[in-house]
Symmetry: C2
Subunit: 331 residues, 2 copies
């Protein structure tokens, strides 16, 4: 039966992708409500021939909705997601608000779609760099038994939304005319630069983003003692994240078997022919639903170790696509 769908945060970069994916993937909807803050209410958004009028996201708009896809930040999710759930609307939440809540499933459909059914009205979508990382690690985990991993990320500015992308563009346009454009979204210039700072710092010196990768991986994989050390870095790339991984496994590893495992996994595409300059890059995987996995090789310092390089579109598998896949899994 066709569903009434809501998109909360419809004016954002992820919101726009959600609208497109619902159409392109032929999600069985009877109607789509685009919801945003009072400031955006009344504005029109076009998709193809259709014109959508933005409505203000208030509790009452969720009456009669079957599913709402939230991507408007953690504080809006904390306020409105329980209101939606109370009204019988299932929430797929892209924020960090409920991810570690034991009563909320945290889902990457290729890995733990079955856990989505045990929801109480809210299902969480993982952090972007975690979801993309797991597209590389999970098939290897199935093959060899993941023990621990080191992840260093190369994260696109789309992770900060439209304003992050606009800031990189503004700085590069200013550079072109010999001017400078001061940073506002980021604490430092991002053009020609990078910084090991994504989300806020915690007392132990890690960022929240780095901690998310550990904690969310543990929850999604149902491996509460999995070990990971992570460094998350923002780079001047538009919309695809890359993650360099050095991972240790329980069982002996083998590159040919690792390649087969990745190639057989529905969430990943093997892109691994270095002699012909084939390995995943952010430009190549921007706009792609699958994540690219390449540079598979025996790790030279870890026991039963493999090194690999994973790239995925931050707005798609890192956000909107995974959310729509969760909604599809519930159908």
């Amino acid at each position: 039966m066709a569903q009434s769908i809501g998109i909360v945060g419809a004016t954002g970069a992820v919101g726009q992708e959600l609208l497109r994916l619902l159409h392109e993937r032929k999600y069985p909807f009877s109607s789509i409500k685009l919801l945003a803050s009072a400031r955006s209410a009344g504005k029109e958004i076009r998709y193809g021939d259709q014109v959508y009028m933005i409505e203000e996201a208030v509790p009452e708009v969720f009456d009669g909705l079957d599913v709402a896809l939230f991507s408007a930040g953690a504080s809006i999710s904390r306020t409105l997601a329980p209101e939606a759930a109370k009204r019988g609307c299932v929430v797929v939440d892209n924020s960090s608000a409920f991810r570690m809540d034991p009563s909320v499933p945290l889902i990457v459909p290729e890995i733990n779609a079955g856990a989505a059914a045990r929801h109480n009205g809210i299902i969480a979508n993982p952090n972007c760099s975690t979801a993309i990382t797991l597209m590389g690690l999970y098939p290897l985990h199935l093959a060899f038994g993941l023990k621990r991993f080191v992840a260093c990320t190369y994260q696109a500015v789309s992770g900060s939304g439209v304003k992050g992308m606009e800031e990189l563009e503004a700085q590069l346009r200013a550079w072109n005319t010999g001017e400078t454009s001061a940073p506002a979204v980021y604490p430092h210039p991002i053009a020609f630069n990078l910084f090991p700072h994504v989300d806020a710092f915690l007392d132990d010196g890690y960022t929240k983003e780095e901690l998310k990768m550990l904690n969310e991986s543990r929850k999604i994989l149902s491996m509460p003692t999995l070990a990971a050390s992570t460094t998350c870095v923002r780079v001047p790339v538009m919309r695809a994240h890359a993650i360099s991984l050095h991972a240790e496994f329980e069982r002996p590893v083998d590159v040919a078997a690792a390649r087969d495992a990745v190639a057989a996994f529905s969430g990943a595409e093997l892109c691994d022919d270095p002699q012909n300059n084939r390995y995943p890059t952010p430009l190549q995987y921007s706009g792609e639903e699958k994540c690219g996995v390449g540079r598979l090789r025996i790790d030279s310092a870890l026991e039963n170790g493999l090194a690999l390089f994973v790239v995925g579109d931050q707005l798609l598998k890192g956000a909107a696509l995974n959310a729509v896949q969760i909604a599809e899994a519930l159908l």
Copy 2:
């Protein structure tokens, strides 16, 4: 006694920095000969009020030179460095040609200056990412005993010389006018992109650059069994490399002691106050002689582990500065 110096590869990005550093650091030279290929011979290069005429680098020009700083690629070094040495000219070679030759010292002056004296006419300057990495790892090695490390790099286009920098600029200028500028130096566009491909691929799936970091670290630190796994990535940054490090030590680690060790080391500058957005970035360390070390924290997956982020100017500590420091150590 003032020396007669030669710079081989004087028209390159590193060559220009060598000329500047010899002047600014008041290296005791009586004359500087700028040497390059036949194509550049006869061209003039200015430094301050002085005009230098480029001479062709042929064996005879090394007659009467005391020291020659080579930065013109491995094949020119292989041909001309032995000719220079035969004529009594001490070569400090920035290429990979002789680094792993057991008869050639491989020197980072802050670490193993003493080994420079045992040269047979040629001394090797390490790979840029190795030299910068060690500015972070070496003080921690002294404090805790390095056992193994994982390094993921974020390498600037200056590592490919002037032409790498020009290619990034050309692609960004083209983007600004809605055009595209095809890659020539790199196999893929570098603007808004990055790729895990620095130097050529080997049969085991590693690149030469990744292998250099392991082998050169072992030689410089005199630790022939040191373990390291490395991923080297080119990013759209102009001239400073960053390296994310997750390292395991022999003895228990402590963040306060690690910070003290870095702060006390002459090759590094502690830049580590994340709550105030202070950590090293490439823009901040471009043009700086010291390397910045920050994000020091207990590694969450390795035993006796520390994580850190190191940034250094690729043309300076990664190349020209280290070469001049070697020449200074020989005085």
